[in-house]
Structures are given as structure tokens and as C-alpha cells.
Symmetry: C2
Subunit: 482 residues, 2 copies
């Protein structure tokens, strides 16, 4: 590299190259990739859903340096087929039941194309008014669908900077790991992060009494309660924290309450699920990841804040090179002041396409169909008395395991729970290694369980039935060899 010289290298740089954004080439190559991806979706079930490659596989197949001269798109797509696809874990496969879904859709994809095509950097209003205004509009639409309360003023939290070491953040021990990481990054002393213990008897929801006890202990010790994160649909088991009493406790201490409904918030656009976020009017902020279970491609996190001024006060910057009349008119929103980074993608385009292409009716239907399939799977688990559903199923995820009682008795000293954990761990590994379905696990309160999360857009009844068959057959074989 660097020692070669091509015709282009020696050219004048103006006329010898096709422009990198040439509209005719855009059209030709764009159609080619649409067909490539449509074929991919048509054939997706032929691939093992969990990638079967070994660490380091790709470096063995690709060159060690970038090409010096251009390569045709045909050759690149061939490499995608031969070398990239084997290394993909197919989140869009109908047999993907792992983690939480990453539910793609035609509308989400089209929105991403438009966003990428315009390729604007919407940090302030003037840099593309439509990006800012469409974002306000669609996030309001979704807020209405969720029946969120409209914004109102509140007293700003007033904590002197010299007290940063005294601030305490509260959440349950089921809260997503992102919270502890965010708190650490924000300068909160990790020893002031309280992961309050939850119990299986309360379905792993955060107890308001435990919260009050933790806060009052801290206050007595001279610390300052700052922030409570309540979760609607935890990652391990989709547990739900009781918003109304938690917000009451937090209010007494003037804390900021954030509601993390990253996964389960989507379901709350259906009237029959809305009760899970009752009490949200007592919270200061609420978030939902449309890229999880709302048919919008990664990434699209929606956040509502009761009092944006406290956010803006904290995150606003106004360097001279970004000054403009529109911002100074105070008639517009500059979303750069609502987030950490300056650059912003035009994500509103995706959410708009999804909301319009499907409408509220179909979106509810899609979500309900996933919940219905989860109920069916739950029923299958219950019907086979070797298995148990470990925690209540609220949404489209079933947490189940082979019961300790289904394992052959060995001797009285055996720890049945530990044996069950080992058995279920091996069950998960065996099922995943085989590649027909992909599921993941959780371990809560000492219990190892399999998380069966439904939400891939292509999943239908038959895939759920097949998955259950795979689980049953694997257990049959495992029990036979015990």
C-alpha cells in the first residue's frame, strides 16, 4: 500500500472518477442491494440462527490491508454472502428467541433509507428543520399512544457540585447494567449505587418499603438521594416495578424518577397493557427503545422528559460557530441540548414511517400476536410436567426451566437446585449449538432459567411450536443419558 500508483492516482481528481454519489450508480447498486436483502429474508431460515464461526474466522478470510483500487459491488456482495453471513447471528430470523428482539420491518428499513439518503446532521433546528420538527411530532404521537401525561414545570433539582461524592442512585438488583455504568460515567461514586434486593415472592419487583429503608439509611449517613430508576419489564425476567408507590417515596425526598420501559413500553400502546405504566405521571422521565419491540431498526430510543429545561441546562453548549437566528429566536428546539453528542441522525423518519405504514391498529396487532404466541408457548411448558414457568409471564417472554423434581433422584445430600441449574445450562448450550433456534438465559435469586423472548418480526406460530419441539427433544435425549 502506498507504493502503487494507478491511473486515478495520477489523474487530476476532477473528471476521471465516477462521483461517489452519482445518481445513476446509486440507482443501479441500490436496487442490487434491495434484491440481495429481500433474498436474505426469503432464505433466512436456511442459516443457523446463532453463528457457528470460531473466534478470528474473518481475519483468515479477508486481506490484511484495504484495497488500493476500487472493487465492483458485485464482488463485495459475493463476499458478504460467503464471509459475512456465516458470522451473523440472525436477529431477524423467525427462530430468534434470545435477549430481547430487534424487530425489523419494511417501514423501519425505508425510514432508515430516507434518513441515510438525506444524511443531515440535525444538531440544531436550522441544520434541517424537518428533522427537529418531525421528531417532536412523532414522539408526541407515540406519547399519546402510551397515554403519557403532557409536560409540566417542576422545581429544578439543586445540588451543589462539591457534593457530587454524596449523591446516591437507587434501583432494583434487576435493573439493567447500563444504569450502574451511566452513573459511574456521570461521576457518581460506585459505592453510592444501591441495587436493592428483590424477591421471587414479589416477582422481582422493587419493593417501596425496601426503597424507603435504603434512602432513610443513606440520609441519616449524610448522603443525598438523587435518582431512582424504576423498570417496566426487566431484562432478566420482564419484572415490573410498582410505579405509584415508588414515585410517592421518591417525591418525599425530591428525587428524579426515571422509568425504563425499554422493552415492555411498546406493549403499553395496547389498552390492556397500559396499566403496567399507571403512575408514570409521577415520574420525571420515561424511555422506550423503539428498536427493541416496535419495528424500528437500530437505533431509536424515545425519551420523554417532564421538564426539559433541567436537561437543557445541564447539556446545552453554544459555541459561536453554531449560533444562528432561529436558535436565538427561542422559537425552535435544538435537540443537541437534549443529548450528549452534537451530531444526530434523522431517526424521526424511521418512527414516522413505522407509525404511518402500520397505523395504531396493526402495531397493536403485531404486539398482541407476539404476546399470544408467548402465551401458547407458556401453555406448552405448563402442560409438560417436567418443566416449570419460573416467573409470571407479563409480555412476550417466557422464563422457564426443567424442574429440579424432573431430574432422577440421586441421594439425599444432593443440592437439587444446583443440579437443576447445571442441567438447564447444558440444555441451553445444546439447543443453541445445534443452531435451529437461539435462546438466552438469566440467573436470578440463584435460579438458572431459559428466557424465551418472542418478537422477531418474521416469527409465526409454527416457529414457536418447532422451538418447543427442539427443547423437548433435547431434554428427552439428555434425560435418557442421565
Amino acid at each position: 500500500m502506498g507504493s502503487l500508483a494507478s491511473f486515478n492516482e495520477l489523474g487530476n481528481g476532477f473528471s476521471n472518477n465516477v462521483n461517489p454519489l452519482d445518481p445513476d450508480e446509486f440507482r443501479r447498486q441500490g436496487h442490487m442491494v434491495i434484491d440481495f436483502l429481500a433474498d436474505y429474508y426469503q432464505n433466512i431460515e436456511k442459516y443457523p440462527v446463532l453463528s457457528q464461526v470460531e473466534p478470528g474466522y474473518l481475519a483468515k478470510r479477508l486481506p490484511t490491508t484495504a484495497p488500493y483500487v476500487a472493487e465492483p459491488v458485485e464482488a463485495i456482495l459475493q463476499d458478504v454472502q460467503q464471509h459475512i453471513i456465516p458470522g451473523i447471528t440472525h436477529w431477524q430470523s423467525p427462530n430468534y428467541f434470545a435477549y430481547f428482539p430487534s424487530s425489523g420491518s419494511v417501514a423501519g428499513f425505508l425510514g432508515e433509507m430516507l434518513s441515510t439518503g438525506f444524511n443531515v446532521v440535525g444538531f440544531n433546528w436550522i441544520s434541517s428543520p424537518a428533522a427537529t420538527e418531525l421528531e417532536s411530532i412523532v414522539v408526541d404521537w407515540l406519547g399519546q399512544m402510551l397515554d403519557l401525561p403532557p409536560a409540566r414545570d417542576r422545581m429544578l433539582l439543586k445540588v451543589g457540585r462539591e457534593n457530587i461524592g454524596k449523591l446516591v442512585v437507587y434501583a432494583s438488583d434487576q435493573t439493567h447494567s447500563a444504569l450502574a455504568k451511566a452513573a459511574k460515567i456521570a461521576g457518581i461514586d460506585p459505592k453510592n449505587f444501591r441495587a436493592i434486593k428483590t424477591k421471587r415472592s414479589a416477582a422481582f419487583g422493587l419493593s417501596p418499603e425496601s426503597l424507603r429503608h435504603a434512602i432513610s439509611t443513606d440520609v441519616k449517613a449524610g448522603l443525598i438521594p438523587l435518582y431512582l430508576c424504576a423498570t417496566i419489564g426487566t431484562t432478566s425476567t420482564t419484572a415490573v416495578d410498582p410505579l405509584i408507590p415508588l414515585c410517592d417515596v421518591a417525591k418525599e425526598y425530591g428525587m428524579w424518577v426515571h422509568v425504563d420501559a425499554a422493552y415492555a413500553g411498546s406493549a403499553c400502546i395496547c389498552p390492556e397493557f397500559r396499566h403496567f405504566i399507571d403512575g408514570v405521571e409521577g415520574a420525571d422521565s420515561f424511555s422506550l427503545n423503539a428498536h427493541k419491540w416496535f419495528f424500528t431498526t437500530l437505533d431509536c430510543c424515545c425519551m420523554w422528559v417532564k421538564d426539559p429545561s433541567s436537561l437543557i441546562k445541564s447539556l446545552s453548549t453554544n459555541p459561536e460557530y453554531l449560533r444562528n437566528k432561529a436558535s436565538e429566536s427561542n422559537q425552535v428546539v435544538d435537540y443537541k441540548d437534549w443529548q450528549i453528542t452534537l451530531s444526530r441522525r434523522f431517526r424521526a423518519m424511521k418512527l414516522w414511517l413505522v407509525l404511518r405504514s402500520y397505523g395504531v391498529a396493526n402495531l397493536r396487532n403485531f404486539l398482541r400476536s407476539h404476546v399470544k404466541m408467548a402465551k401458547r408457548f407458556e401453555q406448552l411448558v405448563i402442560t409438560d410436567n417436567r418443566f416449570e414457568v419460573v416467573v409470571p409471564r407479563y409480555f412476550a417472554m417466557v422464563c422457564f426451566r426443567v424442574s429440579p423434581s424432573a431430574l432422577p433422584f440421586r441421594n439425599a445430600d444432593d443440592d437439587n437446585e444446583m443440579r437443576a441449574n447445571e442441567f438447564n445450562r447444558k440444555l441451553l448450550e445444546t439447543v443453541n449449538a445445534e443452531g435451529r433456534i437461539y435462546v438466552t438465559h438469566a440467573q436470578v435469586d440463584g435460579i438458572y432459567m431459559i428466557r424465551f423472548a418472542i418478537g422477531a418480526s418474521l416469527t409465526e406460530d409454527k416457529h414457536v411450536l418447532m422451538a418447543w419441539k427442539v427443547v423437548q427433544e433435547t431434554v428427552d435425549a439428555m434425560l435418557n443419558t442421565l
Copy 2:
């Protein structure tokens, strides 16, 4: 909303709807949007490059709630044309010379399509090995193209958490505003952020002597020097901080040195520009935004870290639900531990497509053609003695203004510099309001200047000549009315 019921609403949720990811619909609608965008690029010069809408325009045109029933893609695209495009500031227009470029390309777009199509959430290796491994490969490729040093060990910075209030961050007063914001978010006391003054006589580069003076003053006061950000190509004027002597000073104090080459780093793949980052081997981290001037759609920020372990130590989380054999084998990278968020888009796909589709030769050519056009523009400015180039042009941005001496003499008490600032401010506003081109400004050391940044992929010689004509004609008219 909520009171209507459609057939779908009452259906069983399994069979009455077209699947949201139906491959045939994907193909049909995907082709439609490719044609829509190809037409957009073909017609892009017909639109005013800076959006001419008024604040609040879009809410007047769109409904106040999401539709209850699905809408056809044809209707949505019609609305994009009629209601969204007027609110777009066309960053892809060849007449866009504002801020820094957001240089789209066919290859960048295709990479985005593939990334979105697979829609994997590559937080750890197992969640899609290809996403992690391709990222390591292409970032290595680009590192080679920039001739960055390979990684090596270094002593971890050891600062007790109780001293967070004593940590000091250093940069020049030309550093991007994102740094002060990041430092504040990370818990650095804003009064410990040093924006060291630069001078026009040093082309606004950070002086190592000034840095040393600031550090030694802080150390005497009991503070702890933590971090230096040096910039190659500042936002206001593309100033370049001298890396070799700055790293020498920082090394004496054991500080972390980050090199922000967000914009100008791209040019450094050309041998004739590589000298701008000479000394980078003395830094701890280096970043470049491929979405600025490297033909990769937003967003794609590349970062190299000398010692990833210090990053991982700070950002790693290992909740049970993410545990897997591959991670525990220590044979793989889990990029979640290199960043703040857990979810990650498959951005490597975009960079790979760009590198392969164009090759090093064409990429250098594209960049050189932009620099060549900037030189031509600079020459035009110099030739008209009413104008001056305010700071040296290093890359593809020219900072110019109408000279104070070109303005008619009024009286001896006039502040000529202030009058020039006012004149140039009005020049910028007039040019932008007319909509044929879009440029932005900077104000440095009291001087208001127009930033003419070349880098939109569709820009050719003729657009640069036209832009200069627009500027000249506007100045002619303005001087005539003085």
C-alpha cells in the same frame, strides 16, 4: 384514537396482516425508495440548499395523532416530497459549503442498507461475530492508511476517586465544544476545564509553552492534570495543534493525550497530508469521524486507543444475562466494553463498503479533488483585493472575509474591525437567505469570518465558481448601497 376498531383490530393477530418484514413487500417498497432517492439526488440543485421554512411549519401540515389504520407507502412518499423536503437543509447538495461536510456516497449508503438489513445488536462477539471482527479489520485497515502506530502497553492512570474534584482537562480555546460538555458529564468540575488561549499569529494552534504554564500553575495549586485534547483541524478554522511538543509536555505529567482529528484526519491518508499527525505515536487515543469527510453516512466515528485495557477497565459490565462461552474464552472482543451504550449498530459494514468500493486510490483522489477546489476558491479570494483569507488554508476549508479596508472610510473614530464584522455577518445572512449556497461562520480572536467548507460528494468545480460569483455579486450590491 382508541375508540375505533378495524377488521385487523378484531382479527386473531396471526394471519390477517401482512408480516411487517414480508420479503415481497420489502422488495417492492425498497425499490420504490431507491428510485425516490436517486431522483432526489438528480434534482437536488433545484431546492434551496438552506431550508426556507418558518419555525413550526410541520405541525401545521401533519395530523396531531398517529393514524389508526395503515397508510400506503405511496402516500407517505408523497408527503416526504411535499412536506419533509422543504424542511431539509440539503447537506448532500453540491452547493452546501457550511459547517463541515457530511459526505454521503453510494458505498456508504449500501453499507448502511446492509447494516440495517441484518439489524444485529452487536454488543458482544457472540451476538454477531462478523460485526465485531469486521470492525477490528476495517479499523486496522484505516489505521494503516493513516500510518498510526500499533497498540502497546502503558501504565494505567491511577487517580483515587476521592480526587475527582481536583482533575483538570486541558485543550485550546479552539477545541470543539463537545470536549467541555463531555468533561462536565464525566464529573470534571467545569472550573477545572482549561481552554488555553491561542493567537492568530500562531494560526490558532495550541502553544506548548502556554500548556506547560497552565499545568504547572495547576500543579502548584494542588490540582491533578488528567487529560489533554489536541486537535488536528479545529471546527472554526481547521487549526492544527503541534502534536510532538504537546505530547512531550503531557508525558512529563503522565496525562492522557487524545487527538481529535474528526474532520482533517481523513486527509491524512494522503502522503502529502500525513505530516499533520506526525507525533501521534505519543498520544493515547486518536479519533476520526468517517461521517464527516470520508464518504460514510452518519454516524461512523473511528477511534484508536493505545491501551484498550484502561478503557475496558472503566467501561466493562458483565451481567449474568450477557455471559457466554466466547466472552469467557478471552479469545474475542466485546465492543460493549469500549463504549458507553450497550447496543451497537453494525457500522463496520459501512466503512468496509466505502474502503472496498473506492479503494485507497480513489479515496485519496476524492479528498484531493476537494482540497484542489478549496485552493482554487482561495485563489479567487486572493485575487479580489476587497477580500482576505483570514487564516492559512490547510485542508478543504477557506476562512475568508471582506477586509476592513474595502469598506468606505467614514471617520477616524470608527472601529474598522467591528464594522467589518457587521458587514461580513450581513453578507453571510444575505447569501444564505437567497438559498443558492449555504455557508456558515466563525468568530475567532474578534474576527468574524465566513467558513467555506468543501466536501459534499456532489460538489464540482462549477459549483465552487458559482458560489464565488454569489459572494461577489452580493458584496457588489451591498457596497453599492453603503
